[in-house]
Amino acid sequence: MTVADLLQNAAGNLWRMKLRALLTVSGVVIAIAAFVSMLSFGAGMQETISERFESLGLFTTMYVYPAGKGEEKFRGHGRRSEGDTTSEDSTRIDSTKIDSLQAYSSNADSSVTDPAKADTIQRPVIPLDSVAIELLAKIPGVNLAYPHENLSVKVTLADTTFESTARAVPVSAFKTKMFSLIKAGATFDSDTARSALVTEGFALEAGVKLDSVKTLIGKSIIVSVEVISLDSAITRALFNRNLDSLKSHFKGLRFDSLLDSEYRSQLLSRELGGALQRFLDGYLNSREQFAETLSIAGVIDGGRSGNLIRPVILSVASGRRLSDAGFSGSRQDMFTSLASGRIPGMNTASSSSEEYSRVTLDLDQGTPYESIRDSVEALGFETFSFAEEFTEIQKVFLFFNLALGMIGLIALVTAGLGIVNTMVMSILERRREIGVLKSLGADDSDIKLMYLFESGMIGSVGAIGGIFVGWLITRGASLVADWYMSSKDIPSMEFFALPIWLILIAFGIGLFISVIAGLYPASRAAQVDPVQALRND
């Protein structure tokens, strides 16, 4: 028998038992539809995230942190470099702040490391300052390196005031992909400009609809930081190494002994913990404001979710004025900084240059991030790379897809059992027919193939139907999601994707399951004894 004969025969037999075939096929349709719509969700999320990463140039962005700070600065995803041991005190504080997994690893570190030996592997803390930025910029494959400091600010636009975050960005960074998606207006062109860029997230926070962000251009905003007045003097004395600016800024400081860095250091390491926290809690209440009035030059994409781009982008000069004005009002920031063990005031190697908590690197497309990462880490810094992160995300999605796929597979197994049942029944009914075919010269493999084609056809028709139904389900869900997101003024985002690999896998699995389901009935059919099947009695 030729393949055409087998196909025709299978189609004819299924057509003859329309109802039964339809019911069996429906089982496969439902299973494949479930499989497709579930995996489509995984695929869609993955595609959307990948596109987002790509459009923001995140695959060519790397963050650099001072040693020991990487983990906390980016929600625990940063790489921890080998031999990352800070002083005993800060290690202790560290483990109270970070999540249990990291706590485990850091505890493991300290248990392996004998306190006596700890000194031998202790790395000198390298400041992440302007000198370091120059070094970083010279690494082959690094296009641009610029500091990345986030400030907690209050923003006033017309008569609304809200909490936001701000970031000073050098104009050279506007050439990178991350700032390439201008929704309205333009970037400013001077590092001393009294201009600001805001993000779409900012617009939403300010109550401006996404389709009218243009109206923001040219408007004035007041960006202010809250400075803790009397207590801030102490805070500053404790945490700011820049003694000159400290003196000029807080002339009223009377605790002379606090100016002695040795004393501060001892005081802090002794008092860090509940006592200090209570101390600060009690005093951090009276504040004064320092403000910059800026004009909005442009609106850029992003800022709606996560913290990739801050809602307000400032010029370097504005940023410096604001951060020099004082410790930001956020207690959270301060404690994070305390817990990191890199409190400026505790630094024994004093330097007059400003230190950054994070530096952004814009990477060359062609250079593998691993080599740049290794070069940066060789300088003694820690890194966070989105490209590296994405491979982690992909692993998560692989598991996510597998889990969703398993649910679909369970439905498929049930559908497969339905096929077995249908096929066994039709073989019992067609025993005599099988005998006739054998008497006409059909060989065991002909009979087997006839039944395998029949069950395979149930599977393929079911798979095609299921892919279509699955697609309909995702379209429906997508419409509902769109409607919901637009009602909440969230720009629409695609949750589902039906890539060709998914179609092929769905079809392949449908066919595979049905052929497997057909194996047993087919071999039973092939074993029918023609003499028995054709007997008259």
Partner: protein
């Protein structure tokens, strides 16, 4: 129909030697066929007669390669059929033999034409040729008007002629017929008998099981009588005298 032409009737072609087929039924052994020796020559029309249960169908199924013997051997053109693989046996059934049964055994959901075409699925006949050969054979048997009828819409005689067309459309060398007229009235029996005789005249060897002594006498060239799984007599018949 060239098959067998120019060969003398005693040219031994199909041969059974000490052929036995036992069945185990509960504790006892049923000797459905018990040491049968039989030579069938090309062009012969052999009638197998005997009471019910004497082993006629068993012998026919063995010679047709549908069953395997417990002992003894079957020679077809010098080749030993009982040593054939299942695949080779099916080739033998597909190309060299045709079979008809008392109960017609047509496939009920297929039309007369499709039933006949089915016989050509297994001998590599190209698809367009199948339809033509099947139509020609049915027309030859007077069923030109019945091509698209299903078995249920045909009379017993017509059904058996469709079954005959199906057995003969592949031009077999030998036709095995197991009580082909057992379910038919006198008139249809005569019609089938005439058809069989004419195919035999065209050179097709026929082995026919029948209860009908008259039919055997009028068609066959030789009558073999069986009883309890053994051959009890082997005589030339009317048509062969």
């Amino acid at each position: 129909m060239e098959t067998g032409s120019g060969l003398t009737p005693d040219d031994s072609w199909l041969q059974a030697v000490g052929l036995s087929r036992y069945y185990i039924r509960g504790p006892q052994e049923v000797r459905a066929l018990d040491g049968v020796d039989l030579d069938v020559s090309r062009g012969e029309f052999l009638a197998l007669v005997g009471s019910s249960g004497s082993g006629k169908s068993t012998l026919l199924n063995l010679l047709a390669g549908l069953d395997t013997p417990t002992a003894g051997k079957i020679l077809v053109d010098g080749e030993q059929l009982d040593t054939f693989s299942r695949k080779r046996l099916s080739r033998y059934r597909a190309r060299q033999i045709g079979m008809v049964f008392q109960s017609f055994n047509l496939i009920s959901h297929k039309t007369a034409l499709e039933n006949v075409e089915t016989a050509l699925y297994f001998n590599d006949t190209p698809k367009p040729e199948r339809r033509k050969l099947a139509t020609d054979m049915l027309t030859h048997l007077g069923l030109a008007e019945r091509l698209d009828h299903r078995p249920a819409d045909l009379s017993g005689g017509e059904q058996q002629r469709v079954a005959l067309a199906r057995a003969l459309v592949k031009r077999p060398q030998i036709l095995f017929a197991d009580e082909p007229t057992g379910n038919l009235d006198r008139e249809n029996t005569i019609q089938i008998a005439e058809t069989l005789k004419s195919f035999n005249r065209d050179g097709i060897t026929i082995v026919m099981v029948t209860h009908d002594g008259d039919l055997a006498e009028s068609c066959a060239t030789r009558i073999v009588r069986m009883d309890y799984g053994k051959i009890v007599s082997d005589t030339p018949a009317g048509a062969g005298k």
